[in-house]
């Protein structure tokens, strides 16, 4: 087999710590995420996995007393540099939240919300973007006849795919998902997972999940967080069959969590 040079990491954390006031929520995390992989983060609640995800688009900045140490690089740049343009960073790393949060507007206006903020106004461009994003999340066929109706009238699963479409419209490089299917039924969950598999080609995906089976189904590599520490990281298959750390084994077998 031909030896290929490994691609440079898309995201690199080096000794990255995060604090809320005096409390350390992430302790010296060091890991790499490679382009076009689905990288999942698993761990019990309170392990810091969501905090890590929210550090990546600097959403933790919104919380008072939030503070970081160490380096967190996206495409080779430390995003906690003072020169970082946070607005652009957030466009590059689209985020989907645990509960779908459609804004109280029409389906169409939800999809193009971020794009409008970025200054795209011509209706032809917006129409194309909206259709393209909705097709990528297989929502187009379901909503194409009622783009003008309120997004709040969609089902939970549809709302979550709408939220995904909303960030795709911004043409991000990364998709960050924070337990995106925790409130959804199995069929909606399956649709989202299928969509993520297809999106892998064009995006680097980081998936925080409480559902270890979900990580097993779709993640290329997985990291296990516990109490703000990274216990281990590696290919999902290997971690699920032969975890290197006793605690990972215990968690995967459901002994705690």
């Amino acid at each position: 087999m031909e030896q290929r040079l490994p691609a440079p990491p898309a995201i690199r954390a080096q000794g990255f710590s995060h604090y809320f006031g005096p409390e350390a929520t992430l302790k010296g995390i060091t890991l790499d995420v490679f382009p076009h992989e689905i990288f999942s983060i698993i761990g019990p609640s309170g392990s810091g996995k969501s905090t890590f995800l929210r550090s990546l688009n600097r959403l933790n900045d919104l919380i008072r007393g939030s503070r970081v140490e160490g380096r967190l690089e996206v495409e080779g740049r430390n995003i906690y540099d003072p020169e970082t343009n946070v607005v652009e960073l957030r466009r590059k790393l689209g985020m989907v939240f645990a509960t779908p949060v459609p804004l109280p507007r029409s389906i169409f206006e939800n999809v193009v919300f971020g794009v409008r903020l970025a200054g795209v106004h011509t209706s032809v461009d917006l129409d194309i973007l909206a259709r393209d994003s909705l097709e990528k999340t297989s929502l187009w066929e379901e909503v194409k006849d009622r783009l003008g109706t309120s997004a709040l009238k969609l089902s939970g699963g549809q709302q979550q795919r709408l939220c995904l479409a909303r960030i795709l419209a911004l043409r991000p490089d990364f998709i960050l998902l924070d337990e995106p299917t925790s409130g959804l039924d199995p069929i909606s969950t399956m649709k989202i997972e299928e969509t993520l598999r297809q999106l892998k080609k064009g995006y680097t995906i980081i998936l925080v999940t409480n559902n270890t089976k979900q990580a097993g189904r779709i993640a290329d590599r997985t990291a296990f967080f516990l109490n703000g520490e990274l216990v281990e990281v590696g290919p999902t298959d290997r971690m699920f069959t032969a975890p290197a750390d006793r605690r990972t084994d215990d968690y995967l077998r459901g002994r705690f969590g």
């Binding site: 688009n57 919104l62 957030r90 109280p104």
Partner: protein
């Protein structure tokens, strides 16, 4: 048996309280309308007072009320809503925000006649604006500020935190978030607060009589002295000029306030339905 008896007593007592409240409200409105409605006519609304208000209508006081109140709102609404946005979205909770909030609460508790005196000293005499619509509007706007700030703040705080996160995560600046996500959701609450203060402004007498004066002529500029309906009512009744015309004025006032409230509720319901 005892909890059930308690329950019955509680229901009866609470029901009685509601009855008393509704009765007082209805009594006041019916009393004033019964005395005032017979006086009302098209010419009462459309002609200026004659002979200090003994005869003629109340046209100039209607104009005075509208101009003075709108003037106060034009000044107080942007200041108040802006302050509320700053307090909720642009700063963390700290000593300064607590001082501002405490100040607003104190301001809300000051009797209106003190505002009138303050407005008289500052605007009418020191700044040489005289008894004028401008002095009156400025004074009134100070009185309305606390209500507008606190109700707007409440309304803005009620917008779910998740909307802010979503907006930021989609690459909005803080101002874009405020303008496109927070304010559209907060508008019903903000407008309700402004309407509440509008009701207070229309009925205000003490602060206005000191600052806008009580001229019966139709105002011609912002520097004209003018009489509002409530001041007119006060003077007519207090000096025994014409109780009939006083009640007529009061009826117009009450109908106007009821009308504004009904219109506001109607528009708000329409708005809320459109956005949710």
């Amino acid at each position: 048996m005892k909890p059930r008896l308690e329950q019955k007593v509680a229901t009866a007592v609470l029901g009685f309280f509601v009855l008393v409240t509704v009765f007082i409200l209805v009594f006041i409105i019916v009393f004033i309308l019964r005395k005032g409605l017979p006086v009302l006519s098209w010419s009462f609304l459309a002609t200026n007072p004659v002979d200090m208000g003994r005869a003629g209508g109340i046209f100039s006081t209607i104009v005075g009320t509208i101009v003075l109140t709108l003037g106060a709102l034009v000044i107080a609404a942007p200041l108040g809503v802006g302050t509320a946005i700053y307090l909720t979205e642009y700063t963390w909770e700290n000593r300064l925000t607590r001082v501002i909030r405490f100040g607003a609460d104190c301001l809300a508790g000051i009797p209106s006649i003190i505002f009138g005196l303050f407005g008289f000293i500052l605007f009418v005499t020191k700044l040489k604006m005289g008894w004028s619509i401008l002095s009156g509007s400025l004074t009134l706007s100070f009185m309305l500020l606390p209500t507008i700030i606190r109700t707007s703040e409440e309304a803005i705080r009620c917008v779910p935190a998740s909307f802010r996160e979503v907006s930021f995560s989609l690459g909005s600046t803080r101002w874009q978030m405020v303008a496109r996500v927070i304010m559209p959701s907060a508008v019903p609450g903000v407008v309700t607060g402004i309407m509440l203060s509008l009701g207070r402004a229309i009925g205000e007498t003490a602060a206005v009589i000191f600052t806008a004066g009580s001229a019966l002529r139709l105002p011609t500029s912002l520097f004209s002295s003018s009489r509002t309906m409530s001041v007119h009512f006060y003077i007519l009744a207090r000096e025994g000029i014409s109780m009939d015309n006083a009640y007529g004025t009061a009826a117009v006032l009450i109908i106007a306030i009821l009308g504004i409230n009904i219109l506001t509720y109607y528009l708000m319901n329409k708005y809320i339905r459109k956005y949710s």
